[in-house]
Symmetry: C2
Subunit: 399 residues, 2 copies
C-alpha cells in the first residue's frame, strides 16, 4: 500500500523545482493532476526551435505518473474548472514567479477559502518576502547569490557553478518535505496551510563547511579551494589525475595517511618532517599533492580505488556523466528504470530516492502527452458532464 | 502549535547528513535526544588538535534545539538504557557506516521488535544495498561517483567539487522527508517502518540538465561547461568579471537578448549575422562573451544587476561567502538568527528553510554541551530513578 494513495494533488509545477516536489508525491501514490497552459509548461517546450521538437529528457524524467490536464487558467471558465479541482484537492503545488498566482486570482487567500483543508505549496527562488523576493529566480541566480558559485572553483580562478541544478532540486525536496509536515499536521488540526520554500534559504545549510572555515577562524583560507579541503586543514585530500580519468583521495585521519603512505610504497614519508603531522602536511600540501599525483597518474582509477579501499583510505573514482547514467549500483538499487514510452521507445527514468519499506514504488507510467488526461480529469475529478467538457473544448478553454 | 510537538526522536545522527534530518525534526517541535558516545560525535571534535578545542561552527549550526545524552552504547547497560528510549520513541535517526547499527545490536530487526511503531531512518552514502554499499561514504566520495564533480568545472580543466556539501545535505533532507511520509502513513497503519536514503540516489535527480544534454543529443557537448549553459545552447549565458567581483547573466530568450543588447548600448549586434539568432549566438559564444565581459568589467556588480533587472534580463551578483553569511535578505527572512550561547557569546544559527504558516519556528535554544541533558533524559524519557542514574554514572555508562 502506498503512503499517499488517497491524496489528490493539483500540480502547477514547472521546470524542476515544483515538478520534483509533485513527482515525489506521485511516486508515493498520490493522484497528481499536472495542469498546463495550452502551449505546455516551459520544460516541455525546451527543445522547440532546436533540431527537434521532442519533449526533452529532463521533462520526461520529472513527469511520469502524473495526469496531464491542459487548461487555460486565464479564461474565466478555466478558473471555474480549476476551483472545482481545488475543492477536492489535498495539495496544490506551484513554483511560478512571485505574484503570478495572485494575478491569476489563485492566491492562497482565495484557494484556502474555497478549501480550508488545502495545503498550498509555493516554491520560490527567493521566497515570498524579503528584499530579493522579486529578483530573477532560476537555479543559477540562486547559485550566484547563495554562495554556491563563490565556494566552487579554484582560488586563482573565477567562481564556478555546480553542474547539477542543486538549488532547484534542494528547493523542490524541501518543498516536498514541507507538504508532508503539513499533511501530518492536518490529521490533527483538520486545517490546511501555506508551505513556502525559498531555494535561497534551502541551499544555505549546505554551506556548513565554508561557513565553518569563516567562523572557526582557525586559519585564513580562500573561499574556494578547488578540490582541496575547504579549511585547507587536511592533506592528501584532493582529486588527482590517473591513467584513465581522475580519482578522489581523502585522508581525514593520521590512520588514513599512514595506510596511504605504506600502500604507495613510500613509508619513509611518515618520518619526513614535512609530512609527519597533519598540520605539517597541510602546510606542505603542494609538495605532497605532487607526490600523490605522480603515483596516481601511472595507474587506473579502479586499480587505485580497489587498492586504497582495501587498506581503509577514503577514495572514489570520479565518474563521468555517461558512467553515472549507466551505473550498475544505481541500476541494482532501482534508481535507473527503463520503461517503454509509446512514442520515444525505451527511456531511462529514475526511481524514488526515498525508500520506505512499507510504501514501495510500483510501476512507473510514462509521462503523459500534453492534455492526454483532460477528459478523464474533468469527468472524474472536476465532476463535469460530457456535454460540459465538449463545450469547454469548443470554447478553447481546455485542450 | 508546532507540527511535531508530540514526536520523540532518538538521534544517532552525526556530521551533516543525519544531523540535518534531526535538526528539522527539532525545528518543527519534536523532542530530539541526541545520543553521543563518551568522546562526542565526530563533528563536535572536528577542531581538536588544531589551535582550539571549541566545538566548530558546523556543529553549532546543526545541533540547536536538541537534548544531549552521553551514553556508551557498547556497554550492555548502555544498550538497555537505549532500548528504554526506543520503546517510547517515534523516530530513530542514524547515519553510521552500513553494518554499525547491526554490530551494536541495534539493527532495524531488533528495534522494530521492541517498538513496532518505530520509524527507523537510515541515511547512507550509497544505501543499504548494491555493489557500492560498503564504499567509503562522505560528501565528496559521493560527489565523485555521483556525477557532481564530472559536471562541475571547465571543459579544459579537471573535474571540480561543488563547494557546499550538496550530497550530505541532499541526503539529509530526503531522509527528513521520508520520515515525514512514514509518520503520515503510520497514522493510518499504526506501524512504523524502515526509511532509507542513499546520498548517491538522492543527488541523481539534480543531474537533470547534464542528463538532458546526454540524452537529448541535440549537439555533442562536453560534460562540464564552466559557467556556460550545460547544453551550450544559450548565449550570453555565463559569469562575467566586473570592477568588484563577478556577475552572472543569463539570456534564455530572444527577448532577453534584445533587451540586453539595447541596454548595453549595442543595438547593432541585433542585426549582426553572428548574433542574430540563438543558434548563431551559441556558435559564436566566445566572441559574444568577450563583448559582454568588456562591458561588465568596467562596471560594478550591483550597477549591472539593478540596470539589467530593470529591463528584464535574468542576472545576479556572485556573492562571497562573507556576504552570504551577513545577507540582508536571509536576515529579513529569519534564516540568519543571532542567539546567545552561554560559552561562545553571540552565534549566528540558521532558521528553518521550510516555512509553514501554521507551525512557526519559535525560539532557538543553543546546542547543548556533551551530556548536558543526560540526567533529564534518563529520568524523564527512560524512566530511571536517581539511584539508577547514579549507578550508571559510576559504572561509566553514562556521562
Amino acid at each position: 500500500m502506498q503512503a499517499l494513495k488517497d491524496i489528490l494533488v493539483v500540480d502547477l509545477g514547472q521546470i524542476y523545482n515544483g515538478s520534483y516536489c509533485s513527482l515525489l508525491l506521485a511516486y508515493f501514490g498520490a493522484t497528481v493532476i499536472k495542469v498546463e497552459p495550452p502551449e505546455g509548461e516551459p520544460l516541455r517546450r525546451r527543445l522547440l526551435g532546436f533540431e527537434t521538437d521532442r519533449e526533452p529528457y529532463e521533462f520526461l524524467m520529472l513527469n511520469p505518473n502524473k495526469l496531464s490536464l491542459c487548461l487555460d487558467l486565464k479564461a474565466e471558465a478555466g478558473k471555474q474548472v480549476f476551483f472545482k479541482l481545488v475543492e477536492k484537492a489535498d495539495v496544490l503545488v506551484e513554483n511560478f514567479k512571485r505574484g503570478t498566482m495572485e494575478r491569476l486570482g489563485l492566491g492562497y487567500d482565495v484557494l484556502s477559502r474555497i478549501n480550508p483543508r488545502l495545503i498550498y505549496a509555493s516554491g520560490k527562488g527567493f521566497g515570498l518576502s524579503g528584499p530579493y523576493a522579486d529578483f530573477p529566480a532560476m537555479d543559477l541566480t540562486v547559485q550566484a547569490m547563495g554562495g554556491v558559485m563563490a565556494t566552487t572553483g579554484f582560488p586563482d580562478g573565477p567562481p564556478v557553478k555546480a553542474g547539477p541544478a542543486v538549488c532547484d532540486f534542494t528547493g523542490g525536496i524541501h518543498l516536498f518535505a514541507g507538504v508532508m509536515v503539513a499533511l501530518f499536521q492536518r490529521v490533527f488540526t483538520g486545517r490546511g496551510q501555506l508551505v513556502e520554500v525559498s531555494m535561497h534559504d534551502a541551499i544555505y545549510p549546505s554551506l556548513a563547511s565554508p561557513l565553518g572555515a569563516l567562523y572557526n577562524a582557525v586559519r585564513e583560507v580562500p573561499e574556494r579551494t578547488g578540490n582541496r579541503h575547504s579549511g585547507l586543514r587536511l592533506a592528501p585530500y584532493n582529486v588527482y589525475p590517473t591513467a584513465d580519468g581522475y580519482v578522489a583521495i581523502f585522508c581525514v585521519s593520521e590512520r588514513h595517511w599512514e595506510a596511504f603512505a605504506r600502500y604507495i610504497g613510500r613509508p619513509e614519508l611518515l618520518d619526513d618532517e614535512r609530512f609527519k603531522t597533519n598540520s605539517a602536511r597541510a602546510l606542505n600540501m603542494d609538495e605532497l599533492d605532487e607526490i600523490v599525483a605522480d603515483w596516481t597518474s601511472r595507474r587506473t582509477r579502479w586499480e587505485i580505488v580497489w587498492g586504497l579501499m582495501e587498506v581503509g583510505v577514503p577514495c572514489a573514482p570520479v565518474m563521468s556523466i555517461r558512467e553515472v547514467a549507466d551505473d550498475e549500483h544505481l541500476k541494482a538499487r532501482g534508481m535507473l528504470r527503463d520503461i517503454e514510452h509509446p512514442e520515444y521507445g525505451t527511456i531511462r527514468l529514475m526511481g524514488n530516492p526515498i525508500r520506505l519499506s512499507d510504501s514501495p514504488l510500483g510501476k512507473i507510467r510514462p509521462p503523459a502527452k500534453l492534455g492526454a488526461d483532460t477528459d478523464l480529469v474533468l469527468r472524474e475529478y472536476a465532476g463535469l458532464s460530457e456535454a460540459e467538457i465538449r463545450q469547454l473544448r469548443e470554447a478553447g478553454v481546455v485542450f
